[in-house]
Each structure stands twice: as structure tokens, then as C-alpha cells.
């Protein structure tokens, strides 16, 4: 990677600086909205690793999102703040475990079966939390206080502060972006790309294809879990909706919107999706029609999947590439 001063790089730098400075001038509502976008951006990147880089279309990615969220909620005591390090690592461990268990089974199948099996496993988790009393059933549970990020009594970051929380998630987004970027440019990442194009050939070349896919599935699952954990502590609330297949389909939509196989595209897709959702469900702008936001979202999704298979970035870059 060599950095040249081009218009594009300058624009990116300005955008990043503006995002970084956002809490200094924006109202609380917008800072929280953008925190949500950052979190969904992390979530979309994690799914893009599977869909865009390995060619595994999962319709059950919400399972990780929800599992980690419930883990955050269940490990938060009601009257005091939980320990961030404990609940965070527990949440990610659960996701890794779940990814290993379901991945071993789901990766035995291909294309269409994989879609259905991942959906079925996510639905299984949905039913566990929906039908039993573990996590408050269909009503979900509250997290009264955000976990405390402290080492031996010294608070490192005050996550209750919405500005700090924003910067914290922003930092995570950048870190995960960098991690995935390095991963995908490594030998491992190239092998994943090879598997996407021609699995049989990669196997013939002696690559342990199954282990490559499983490890990618585990990485994607745990990053999805990170997003789910932050989502839970931001809203202080988890319910089975977090695991529902609507969540899985929405994040898939974000990936498509941003153009598959592009990490910043996934973040871009997430921002467009969240902002659009915010816009069409805004009652002060659309009046009573806002209650039909899912109708509008439905038509939007149908239109994108029919007319914009490469997403919005595909629309922009079409002219410049050819």
C-alpha cells in the first residue's frame, strides 16, 4: 500500500476527520444515529467477508448479532455496571463456539442449502430466546447500565457518555476494517478468493478448503458478534427481533447496496440503509404514511435486487472503470 495524494485519498481523509469530529458539533440524536451506523457497518463488513469474499451467502448472520447481544444483557447485573472485559469476551467466545458448531454442519452443504441451513440455525436461536424464559421471552431484556471499561478500579472509558461511545465504536470500526483488509491481502485472503472462484481447483491444489471456509465463517461470526454486543449496550435492550431473519436479510441488503466484495462498500451500504430507514419512518416528514415504511422498504429492496445487482457503488463506478 502506498499513499499518494489524490483527490480520492483527500476526500477519504476529510470524510474520516469529519466523522471523527462529529460528536463535537452534532446533537445527541445524530451522534447516536451515527453510532448505530458504525455498528451496522461492522456487522455488514463481517457478512461481506462471507458473501463477497468467500461466496457463502448466509441468511442467518443475525444469530451472532443476537447471541452476543443476549450475552451482554445476561452478564449485566441489574443494579450495577457489568465488567466490559468479562461480558465482551464471553459474548465473542459464545459466537465462536456457535460458529464452529453450526459451521461444521452448514458448510457440508452448498449454495442454496447453505442459505436455508444458516437461516434454520439462526431461527433455532430465535426460538430459544423467544419461547423460553432465559432472556425474558418475546419481550426481551434491558441492560440498565452499560458495562464498565475499567482495569483494577480505574475507569478507562466512560461508555455511558454518548460521545465516548461513538468514538469507541468508531475506533472498533477502523480496527476491524484494517484487520480485514490485512487478512484479505494475505495469502489466506487470496486463498479465500480462489475458493470463491473455483473450489474444486483449490482442493486439487491441496488447499484444505473446508478449514479455510470454516475459519472465515468463525471470523465473520465473531465480528458479527462484536457488532451485536455494541448494538445491545448502545440501546440497553435486546429482544428476539435482533436474531430474527429480518435482521439477517437487512444486513444482506446493506452488503448488496454497498456492492459485494468491498469493505468500505459494506459500511457505505449500512449507512444508506440506516439513513433510508430513518427517513421513511420519520413521521414529521411523511405523516401517517410513515407507518407504512416497511412497504416502501419492500419496494426499495425489490428494486435494488432487480435493477442494481452491483449496489450503489456499482452505479457510481460503472462510468469510471470502463
Amino acid at each position: 500500500m502506498n499513499f499518494k495524494i489524490t483527490t480520492r485519498n483527500l476526500l477519504v481523509a476529510v470524510l474520516l476527520l469529519m466523522l471523527c469530529a462529529l460528536p463535537l458539533f452534532a446533537e445527541k440524536f445524530y451522534v447516536q444515529l451515527f453510532s448505530k451506523i458504525l455498528i451496522m457497518g461492522i456487522f455488514a463488513m463481517s457478512l461481506d467477508l462471507l458473501v463477497g469474499y468467500v461466496g457463502l451467502v448466509s441468511l442467518g448472520h443475525a444469530a451472532f448479532f443476537g447471541l452476543a447481544g443476549y450475552c451482554a444483557a445476561l452478564l449485566s447485573p441489574q443494579y450495577e455496571a457489568g465488567n466490559f472485559f468479562v461480558s465482551f469476551s464471553a459474548a465473542i467466545s459464545i459466537c465462536i463456539l456457535f460458529a464452529l458448531l453450526t459451521g461444521v454442519l452448514a458448510l457440508r452443504t452448498k449454495s442454496f442449502y447453505f442459505i436455508m441451513v444458516t437461516l434454520a440455525f439462526a431461527q433455532m436461536i430465535f426460538f430459544i430466546f423467544h419461547d423460553t424464559k432465559i432472556g425474558g421471552g418475546g419481550d426481551g431484556i434491558y441492560i440498565y447500565q452499560k458495562p464498565l471499561l475499567a482495569i483494577s478500579g480505574i475507569t478507562l472509558l466512560e461508555l455511558e457518555n454518548f460521545k465516548t461511545f461513538y468514538w469507541f465504536t468508531f475506533g472498533w470500526l477502523i480496527a476491524i476494517y484494517a484487520f480485514l483488509r490485512i487478512l484479505l491481502q494475505s495469502h489466506y485472503g487470496h486463498a479465500l478468493g480462489g475458493i470463491k472462484v473455483n473450489e474444486h481447483r483449490m482442493r486439487a491444489l491441496g488447499y484444505p478448503v473446508f478449514w479455510y471456509k470454516l475459519s472465515a465463517y468463525v471470523i465473520a461470526g465473531s465480528i458479527g458478534g462484536i457488532a451485536g454486543y455494541f448494538n445491545a449496550i448502545q440501546f440497553g435492550f435486546v429482544n428476539p427481533e435482533n436474531i430474527s431473519w429480518h435482521t439477517s436479510a437487512n444486513v444482506l441488503m446493506m452488503v448488496i447496496l454497498g456492492g459485494m466484495g468491498s469493505l468500505h462498500g459494506a459500511v457505505f451500504g449500512a449507512s444508506v440503509f440506516i439513513l433510508l430507514q430513518e427517513l421513511i419512518s420519520n413521521e414529521s416528514m411523511l405523516g401517517s404514511f410513515a407507518s407504512h415504511w416497511s412497504l416502501m422498504m419492500g419496494f426499495f429492496i425489490v428494486a435494488v435486487s432487480l435493477f442494481l445487482p452491483n449496489g450503489l457503488t456499482g452505479l457510481f463506478s460503472r462510468g469510471s472503470k470502463k
Binding site: 458473501v51 451467502v57 441468511l59 454442519l105 457440508r108 452443504t109 449454495s111 442454496f112 442449502y113 442459505i115 436455508m116 441451513v117 437461516l119 434454520a120 440455525f121 431461527q123 433455532m124 426460538f127 430459544i128 423467544h130 419461547d131 423460553t132 431473519w245 436479510a249 444482506l252 441488503m253 448488496i256 407504512h292 416497511s294 412497504l295 422498504m297 419492500g298 419496494f299 426499495f300 429492496i301 425489490v302 435494488v304 435486487s305 432487480l306 445487482p309
Partner: protein, 290 residues
């Protein structure tokens, strides 16, 4: 558990399984012949239930309501095929999943506009509102037998249509090689529309006959859809026989799961799926009718 209640649960399980078969058969047919994953298939089940409720009230008779409903869903199937689905046949599964997810959002919203968000019970028709004496102290509702009989009749009809008629021959030919079939002078686009429409009306019929038992409620399609996905995975996608076997297995697993561990009944279906996936990753029957 008594032998009597086991027998009752067995009958319930088979009835539920047969009902699921109607929905899963449409799903698997559409995939087998056009190669489309249709997430919105469960919505047709819901539409069927709501149509049965509203048309039965309008027409004053359950039977007239169902007859009109079937005609309406056949038309709906044709329209949806022409407007939306035919563009998806050659596309990646990813876009099929997304577009049909968008359709679900549209259907659910239209449902709330047309019929509201309340749960609507459908009255069991007078003719069938009785019980059958199985043994001295064991009765079973007549209507549930009726549902099973309808499902079995449709299953046999479907089998005969696919295996023994000219239309069925063309459908099978189209599934194997649609271009070649077209070259031989068959209007394959029409065949696709017909198959899709059959799939839609099968799911809707299932919703209609189930409505007096389950009533009509929002999002009822989702649960059925996911169960049918599991059935199709178990049975082997594209195989109608697989769908039947899978549906009966799931119907029984779900019913007995409900009896023995009500809190975890949602899990029994998925556990069954996992076991079958370990054993046969491509399902029990791999596309047998091709």
C-alpha cells in the same frame, strides 16, 4: 403417556405434516423447475388464510369463499410471475432471496392495510363440525380428518399430473433442459407461469384449509416458511417425494416435541435437521423426478 393420547398426537402430527407438505411442495416445485428460492412462499399461506376468513364472511359460506379464493390466488400467482419472478430465473440465489424478502415486507404491509392486525378465527363449516368416534372413549375432530383427506387428494393429483399427463411431461422436460424444450415448440414461459401459479395456489389452499384450526394472524407465513425450508433441506430440494417424507417427519417431530418438551418444541425440528445433515448433506431424496 397413555396409548390413546399417543394415537391422537400421531393423527395430529400426520395432519400437520400433510398440511406442511402442500406448502413445501410448491416451494420445491418452483425451485426444481425454475431454480428460484422463494422466501415469499410463506406469505401465500398467510394470504390463503386471510382470504378464507374474509371471503367466507362476504360470501356467507366457507366453501364458496374457498372456491373464489383459489381462483384469486391462481390469478395472483400468474401476475407475480410475470411482474417479478420471471426476471429472477437466471439470477444468483442471493438476489432471489433479497427480492422475495422485499416482497414479504410488501405483502405484510398490504395485509395490515386490507385486513388489519387482528387475529381472525374462521368458523369450521357446519358440515364438518363434528367428531368421529375412533374407539369407545376416543373421539377425533372430523375437520382434521377432512384436512388430511384434502392434502392426500392434492398430493395424489399432483403426482398424477406430473407423472401421467402431457402437461407434467412438459414440466419435467422443462426442468431438465428448458432451452431444448423451447426449441421443440413448447411455450416454456407459459409453463413457468403455470408452475409458479400452481405453487402459489397450493400454499394458499393450505392456508385456507388450515384457517379454521389455526385462525388467520399476522406473520403466520414466516413460521410456516422456515419449517418448509427445513422440510425441503431434509427431503432434498426439487424432490416432491422428499417434500412429502420431510413434511411428515417434521409434522411428527414438532407435534411430539410439543407434548414432551413444550418450551423447547421449536428446537426439535432443527435437531432433526442437523442429524439428517450429518447423515446426508443433500437430503433424503435427491431430486428424484428429474
Amino acid at each position: 403417556m397413555e396409548i390413546n393420547s399417543i394415537l391422537i398426537q400421531l393423527l395430529n402430527g400426520i395432519q400437520y405434516g400433510l398440511l406442511l407438505f402442500l406448502v413445501a411442495a410448491g416451494l420445491t416445485l418452483v425451485f426444481g423447475i425454475m431454480g428460484v428460492i422463494n422466501l415469499a412462499h410463506g406469505s401465500f399461506y398467510m394470504i390463503g388464510a386471510y382470504l378464507a376468513w374474509s371471503l367466507a364472511e362476504l360470501a356467507g359460506s366457507f366453501w364458496v369463499g374457498i372456491a373464489i379464493g383459489i381462483v384469486l390466488t391462481i390469478i395472483l400467482g400468474m401476475v407475480l410471475e410475470v411482474v417479478f419472478f420471471k426476471h429472477l430465473y437466471r439470477r444468483d440465489h442471493l438476489y432471489q432471496v433479497l427480492m422475495t424478502y422485499g416482497l414479504i415486507l410488501i405483502f405484510e404491509d398490504l395485509r395490515s392495510v386490507l385486513w388489519g392486525n387482528d387475529i381472525h378465527g374462521v368458523v369450521i363449516p357446519e358440515l364438518l363440525n363434528s367428531s368421529i368416534q375412533l374407539t369407545e372413549n376416543l373421539t377425533y375432530p372430523m375437520y382434521r380428518f377432512f384436512v388430511s383427506a384434502v392434502c392426500i387428494a392434492i398430493a395424489i393429483g399432483l403426482y398424477l399430473t406430473i407423472q401421467r399427463t402431457r402437461l407434467g411431461m412438459i414440466i419435467r422436460a422443462g426442468a431438465t433442459n428448458s432451452e431444448m424444450t423451447q426449441v421443440l415448440g413448447v411455450n416454456i414461459k407459459l409453463i413457468h407461469a403455470v408452475v409458479f401459479s400452481i405453487g402459489v395456489s397450493l400454499a394458499a389452499i393450505a392456508g385456507m384449509v388450515a384457517s379454521p384450526i389455526s385462525s388467520a394472524y399476522p406473520n403466520m407465513g414466516t413460521q410456516v416458511l422456515i419449517t418448509c425450508f427445513v422440510i425441503v433441506v431434509i427431503g432434498g430440494i426439487g424432490s416432491v417425494w422428499g417434500a412429502l417424507a420431510g413434511a411428515l417427519l417434521i409434522g411428527l417431530a414438532d407435534t411430539f416435541g410439543n407434548v414432551f418438551a413444550p418450551e423447547y418444541s421449536g428446537l426439535s425440528v432443527f435437531i432433526l435437521m442437523s442429524i439428517i445433515l450429518i447423515w446426508r448433506p443433500e437430503g433424503l431424496f435427491k431430486r428424484s423426478y428429474k
